[in-house]
Symmetry: D3
Subunit: 239 residues, 6 copies
Amino acid sequence: MKRPSGRSADQMRQITLTRHYTKHAEGAVLVEFGDTKVICTVSVESGVPRFLRGSGQGWITAEYGMLPRATGERMQREASKGKQGGRTLEIQRLIGRSLRAAVDLHSLGENTLHIDCDVIQADGGTRTASITGACVALVDALRVMKQRGAIKKIPEIQMIAAVSVGIYQGEPVLDLDYLEDSAAETDLNVVMTDKGGFIEVQGTAEGVPFSPEELNAMLALARKGVDELFALQQAALQD
Amino acid sequence: MKRPSGRSADQMRQITLTRHYTKHAEGAVLVEFGDTKVICTVSVESGVPRFLRGSGQGWITAEYGMLPRATGERMQREASKGKQGGRTLEIQRLIGRSLRAAVDLHSLGENTLHIDCDVIQADGGTRTASITGACVALVDALRVMKQRGAIKKIPEIQMIAAVSVGIYQGEPVLDLDYLEDSAAETDLNVVMTDKGGFIEVQGTAEGVPFSPEELNAMLALARKGVDELFALQQAALQD
Amino acid sequence: MKRPSGRSADQMRQITLTRHYTKHAEGAVLVEFGDTKVICTVSVESGVPRFLRGSGQGWITAEYGMLPRATGERMQREASKGKQGGRTLEIQRLIGRSLRAAVDLHSLGENTLHIDCDVIQADGGTRTASITGACVALVDALRVMKQRGAIKKIPEIQMIAAVSVGIYQGEPVLDLDYLEDSAAETDLNVVMTDKGGFIEVQGTAEGVPFSPEELNAMLALARKGVDELFALQQAALQD
Amino acid sequence: MKRPSGRSADQMRQITLTRHYTKHAEGAVLVEFGDTKVICTVSVESGVPRFLRGSGQGWITAEYGMLPRATGERMQREASKGKQGGRTLEIQRLIGRSLRAAVDLHSLGENTLHIDCDVIQADGGTRTASITGACVALVDALRVMKQRGAIKKIPEIQMIAAVSVGIYQGEPVLDLDYLEDSAAETDLNVVMTDKGGFIEVQGTAEGVPFSPEELNAMLALARKGVDELFALQQAALQD
Amino acid sequence: MKRPSGRSADQMRQITLTRHYTKHAEGAVLVEFGDTKVICTVSVESGVPRFLRGSGQGWITAEYGMLPRATGERMQREASKGKQGGRTLEIQRLIGRSLRAAVDLHSLGENTLHIDCDVIQADGGTRTASITGACVALVDALRVMKQRGAIKKIPEIQMIAAVSVGIYQGEPVLDLDYLEDSAAETDLNVVMTDKGGFIEVQGTAEGVPFSPEELNAMLALARKGVDELFALQQAALQD
Amino acid sequence: MKRPSGRSADQMRQITLTRHYTKHAEGAVLVEFGDTKVICTVSVESGVPRFLRGSGQGWITAEYGMLPRATGERMQREASKGKQGGRTLEIQRLIGRSLRAAVDLHSLGENTLHIDCDVIQADGGTRTASITGACVALVDALRVMKQRGAIKKIPEIQMIAAVSVGIYQGEPVLDLDYLEDSAAETDLNVVMTDKGGFIEVQGTAEGVPFSPEELNAMLALARKGVDELFALQQAALQD
């Protein structure tokens, strides 16, 4: 088996995390997984949705979008279509759930953190890159909240990172790019905490079903990948 | 640990599959997982979506809905809100992907099979009940297609069934009802083929992350559950 | 003249009213007019729409839907189309107006009763079946409100029932099924109270106009039909 | 009983029909029922909706709207709300059905006639005024079609007119204005042909049910009203 | 150069301003620029949008629409399409901005003035006619507000008028009708105050760019045109 | 007068044009006017809208968007609101019209060029930056079309650039940033060709009307600004 990208089966793409990428947002990170590039911003807003008012608890919510020509073929702009597609909604629900696991919502006070992940160039793995980048932006936003006095102290943060794995030509491979993803028999997205627990596991067979053994092999690869991501997040946050 | 339902950890609810539940559809099954009741119909339409025209291949697509008062609190009707929510889209995408794995789409000719899963009463596990019931309705629809001459022979069918498992008070349990699901630390939906392969695995931690060991224990339970479902599907189809 | 259904001109279809059909709603009736089957639920919600706040008066509102394959040909799901069609809106406005005549809204306190009529199988007369079934569900819901203390006593209820009549091959006939309705020259829906007054009369000529004499003959038939329905409602409510 | 308008019970308002009211449409009539003013245009378009293609048959369809300040209180513009309300859809379906009864659709060739009824000032009875005015505009449009060679001869036309009647303070009255309509116990819209047949009868009790005797008294008044309207239509068309 | 309309280059069309054109609105003007006819109403509503609450300041907002057959070809009704087009939004934003310049919003108290401009017949220049007519309707509405005690005195009003100019066959011309507008190389809409200041200048080259000299020549023509309009507004308001 | 930015009245911000900013689009330019940053892509699609089919002519169309946190306060995502706002539609119509002036549409064959301008950081002047950047991306796209054989030769291009000017504290100033724009009395957007002709002039008084002299002074400043932009475009295209 030879991956189209020429990488070894357990090799991640080049990952970069650029903080303060834009100037207005409380957290703003450009995350790159190879040619996949996503701007992740975190916006702090005082107040919470109706179902939490008076609870003393905060909220984290996420939205996801792609520029129309982030992809090989131009896709119709969702704003002009007048609705977000099922794929978009599914991804932004995943991002929101994942990041809500990063921090105890009670520690936020009645504030809402809006995560926006906008893909400016897509080459596979946009949802896992989004989660990985958004977690760094979240930390920056919490630091700004502390500076502004919106929270008294920065709450304990459980770092979250995500990676895709798959079965490509019968073998488990790590961090699929678009070409590999299109040809993979199975695609598995794994979201983990820096303590090694799973937050989310989503695997889909394309064509051939996958076996429990393949699942476990993929999960092991994912573990290796997110460990590298956690190291990169820490490095970025210490700059 | 004692389940609210009083069942043992590896015990499914009472499952029933009622074929020919309504009269117009080519396949029409009422599936009940305990108090969860879903009408699954399969409608055959000649022709395929634009991206398949001329390919000689068929298509299977799914839609999902809930009656407004299928739930404890009335939910707003999606038709009057003017859009389907993210949860709805996510579930119907899952149902469609799962059922497309049941049959080689080339064996359908240029016909579209519309699966509609409408929940008339909800008590947890509506998506897994939908998949399990829809697969029986699909077989009925293929038989009708054969009778009408739309296909020359009934294609080989890989039966598909699905069940939810979870971690409840620290222990893996099978086939969560609503009360159990609301209190579970982890919720995992598993879609399998009757040969034991995975079609889809979707696990979400609510609060506490889950470990690889817990994941494997849940998958083993799921395997037990779907095996029971496959037996019930076969029995129903032989009536 | 021979009706496709083989019934005599003034003969209703087999009617059944099944109470407590689903478990969550305060009122939940499955109504069957022959092969037409509608689930009618009534959901009680504390509070009223803005225009009634502070008035001490309650509100009754209705929504109507059909499962996509309730009909011979699959219809597109309104939730996925993003809007309710004109026929749907017209029918749900009719159901709401009719049921608001059943009870003095001042006797409800500031509570809203949501009626949902969902057709699971259609064979003509879905709107009249909906009204007839919803009135029974309404009584059940009022009983639950009394039990829960939301109202002090069950208000006086004017029972409401509805039936369609038509001119088929030149003769007035009662309770048209789909085949008869499609071929009828005139279609008249009549909503009455159990004291014999009209709540709503809606007649439409399809092709040939109808005469005052035909109108009166149809109204007489309708009267016979609703009287049978009132008896069935009473019987159902005494179980 | 004294009507707010000071009219006798069987007296219509001042009716005017102004042909060629705007210059672009094939038929363009301003109809006035007292202070109710509606612009009715008929636009001829070659071609028919998909379900009629190749049938050799034409189609007549209608849309209805109100200027936001046609009424005492400004209503939100439906175009900016993003959807037409239930009342609008109900009325335009009624107008379309009524006018399709005016002419054999096979005599139109594969052409579509779009009726647009736009209320510029409302004072009760907008739907009946719309139907009455649109029928005159339809005749003008057929004459233009003949001139342009779109049809070989002007088809036989069954004139259609409509009026509202009601029970006001216990007495049947003809052609209700807004004040009367708001206070009426029953409101009945009647659409008739110039040969005395009914095209549509729609009666609604507001509060108190109405009796068969009241219905017949209202229908007799309606007959008197539409006869006057037919005379005015003829006069207008002979100018 | 000869204009299709036969007018001289600096000649306006016949302009009429008919006040009190409909009876419900506080201001209601029919404005005609030749065959272009627009109903402009101003509706007074107590209260302001959220962003102004408590400011003591009022608000003026505008909406614009066309009847479907105001034009040579029937256009689809925006209410049935479910959204207002870009041209509509652009025009109504222009009308709103222009009229907000007519009066100090602080002098209105917390009241909102809704301007509705509905084109019943279009022949070029609908937006400039709308602004010119709406300003007269605005004065009428302010007078009504004074009478009703909603404001203590009529605030100082800066009259606003608008006209289109263009380059037609190389020459600047005033007040283009539809035929001229379609063939013009440049189209410039100018909104001015009665003191000669510009409120809005919007020029678009269709094909050939325009020069600074052409721009100045067009602006001079526009000045002549609006001066005539100001005189007509004054005359209308003194009736 | 001292500008908040500290620039002299006729001084542009730092402008950069980065070609090939993303990899998929035929043209992809990041344009920066100071802190305003816009990604402009041009996507080539074979085929034209219906109204041009068979004409042999091509089409250029534009869409505009902002990331939710491109601004100081997070704005709601238009895709999740379900419609594009009036400001967005107005800007994208302006961009489309402006760029269609750059090239003879007949020289494109039946191809459509989709321009997408997405603001990733906003600080005033996003529409003028978009037009200026999109023109460079357009040239790149034409070169790619030539390479792929979609066109035989690169058509003659009239370069287009745009800048905003305004009256700030009574003085004309060039290229307003957000702080200046918010406080300016007048805002004028000017789109020009490299031969000095106007494509579009849009001036709006905020509060105080502007005089013809002020207009001319602003136009002169704009001319200076676009000349600098044309030089930068040329330099970028020669890299």
